[in-house]
């Protein structure tokens, strides 16, 4: 097994999940993950593999031109989903779609660094890896994560509350 095979098997799932959560698109996430492993191939040595992979993936996502293009597609897709929801109001599907939409809104409301740190932590990166990937001081990771978690939960709950109120109003 080549080294990149090992890297892929060890980290692809976590990397794709991280990127999916980050980007909101599984295909795009897989594409970026693959590109990340291709870049890993070109490296003679990587000190902290996981931190390196997540850092490179994060940087790839930051490619602005690319991001802009994708964003437009993403918006188009969101619009399409909205239309789909309107014609297919199946309850569980709608519920899940609402949850996902609120989660997306809540995560998007975070500052970029907070968001990335949180997503990386969710994939099991330790504080030093997060610090390395995001070029933070190791001591600030705890503060970053605590802020990210609090804000995420609070904004999600606020969205949930307003959603419930809308439903209540619609019902009455």
């Amino acid at each position: 097994m080549t080294d990149v095979d090992r890297l892929f098997r060890a980290y692809n799932a976590a990397l794709v999940r991280y990127l999916t959560r980050r980007l909101g698109d599984r295909d795009w996430a897989e594409e970026v993950a693959q590109e990340t492993f291709v870049r890993a191939l070109r490296q003679t040595s990587i000190q902290n593999e996981r931190a390196w992979l997540f850092a490179v993936a994060t940087n790839l996502v930051r490619d602005e031109a690319r991001k802009d293009m994708r964003r437009r597609k993403h918006l188009a897709l969101l619009a399409e989903e909205e239309r789909d929801e309107m014609v297919e109001p199946e309850e569980t599907t709608l519920e899940r779609a609402q949850e996902a939409a609120m989660a997306r809104k809540a995560i998007d409301a975070l500052a970029e660094r907070d968001r990335l740190a949180l997503l990386m932590r969710e994939e099991g990166l330790d504080y030093s890896e997060i610090a390395e990937a995001l070029q933070l001081s190791p001591g600030s990771v705890g503060t970053t994560l605590s802020r990210a978690r609090r804000r995420l939960v609070e904004s999600y709950e606020a969205l949930q509350k307003s959603q419930e109120e809308r439903e209540k109003n619609a019902a009455s």
Binding site: K73, L118, G142, L145
Partner: protein, 371 residues
């Protein structure tokens, strides 16, 4: 000990503190209710944020354009495209059985117009006619072609095929296509006294009923019923309904475009398996996009018609299927100098009779215009 800040509590819970630090926090939290609350809250945030992030895992695919297109093209688009394609190339014929069953037929020669006649929707009920007719339609022209290869025109039939819209193409094939028209009959149809039998929604009778019923019952004093007209390149094509389902085509060509537009007998062969009702060949240099001439809620019915189930099994060509000779009467309009060509599947005498009626109506219309 000083109360640990939120970041430190998270670091502790994440296992990111050194053993010494962790032990100190642990001791403090046990003794400090305020920090115990903060720790409980932090645990809640950690668990809740994990849960929230899980909701992001069902991300859609296909946002990336390089991936396969997510949406299939609406089948209706294909239907419309097929219709346009066929209409662009073809001329059609309506075959109609006046005896009880209705058979839309299509034969093409050159270019065409899509026509749909009749306004009585119930007759189009799929159970009654749709698929069965499709079978007949698919098979009849093909068989006719093989019997009379001298026809010299290509035919492409179009049946109610939801996927392709084109069911068969014979070998003589040229480039044309036909779209079938329905010219049904109904007891309620105006000006038709002979068809009072309640046979409108009857499915096809395979044995066929010979058509060619004389038009005695038709009220000749009534004005000819105009089904549709279209005009292109100096040629005006008018379809008249003589009686319900019985139509003739009047082609009016200005002298300048005479050679390209005048319709001549296309030698239409027997097509209908069952009915040998009167039919009309309608030819024009029609363009596809504007080719639909229909009456009533035309587009809907046309679509429905075109989307009838595809039937590939050929229908037996019945010997009762009688040839309807297409007759043509041409004359020059004294008023305009245009060449008028009347085409229909009926006797010459009958065609002459209609010609006279048309002339009379044209004269009346001209008089009205310029009193």
């Amino acid at each position: 000990m000083q109360h640990p800040d939120e970041g430190t509590i998270h670091s502790w819970l994440d296992g990111a503190l050194s053993a010494d630090e962790a032990a100190r926090i642990e001791t403090h939290v046990k003794e400090c209710p305020q920090c115990a609350v903060a720790v409980a809250e932090a645990r809640g945030f950690i668990a809740a944020s994990s849960r929230i992030l899980t909701a992001l895992d069902n991300a859609p695919r296909g946002v990336i354009p390089a991936a396969a297109p997510k949406k299939r093209i609406d089948p209706m688009v294909w239907r419309v495209a097929a219709t346009v394609l066929v209409v662009a190339a073809g001329t059609f014929v309506v075959v109609r059985d006046r005896g009880g069953s209705e058979i839309p037929m299509s034969v093409a020669a050159d270019r065409g117009i899509l026509l749909e006649k009749r306004a009585s929707l119930p007759e189009l009920a799929p159970s009654a006619i749709g698929p069965a007719q499709s079978v007949a339609d698919a098979a009849a022209p093909k068989a006719a072609a093989s019997k009379t290869p001298a026809i010299g025109t290509a035919r492409k039939t179009m049946v109610g095929d939801s996927s392709s819209g084109v069911a068969s193409r014979d070998n003589n094939a040229i480039t044309s296509a036909g779209v079938m028209m329905r010219a049904g009959k109904s007891a309620a149809a105006p000006g038709y006294a002979g068809g009072a039998a309640p046979n409108a929604p009857t499915p096809l009778a395979p044995s066929g009923v010979t058509g060619g019923v004389a038009m005695d019952a038709t009220n000749e004093s009534e004005p000819l019923k105009l089904v549709g007209t279209r005009q292109r390149a100096g040629v005006k094509v008018t379809l008249y309904e003589i009686a319900p389902g019985d139509t003739v085509t009047l082609t009016e060509a200005k002298p300048i475009s005479l050679t390209g537009a005048v319709v001549t007998s296309a030698g239409v062969v027997p097509m209908a398996a069952q009915a040998a009702g009167k039919s009309v060949v309608l030819q024009s240099k029609a363009r596809a996009d504007t080719a639909a001439i229909t009456t009533g809620t035309d587009s809907q019915r046309t679509n429905r018609f075109l989307s009838a189930p595809a039937v590939s099994a050929p229908a037996p060509i019945s010997q009762e299927g009688r040839a309807n000779t297409l007759r043509v009467v041409s004359w020059t309009d004294p008023g305009t100098g245009n060449t008028l060509t009347l085409t229909g599947r009926m006797s010459e005498a009958r065609l002459q009779e209609i010609k006279i009626r048309i002339e009379r109506e044209r004269a009346a219309a001209a008089a009205k215009k310029s009193p």
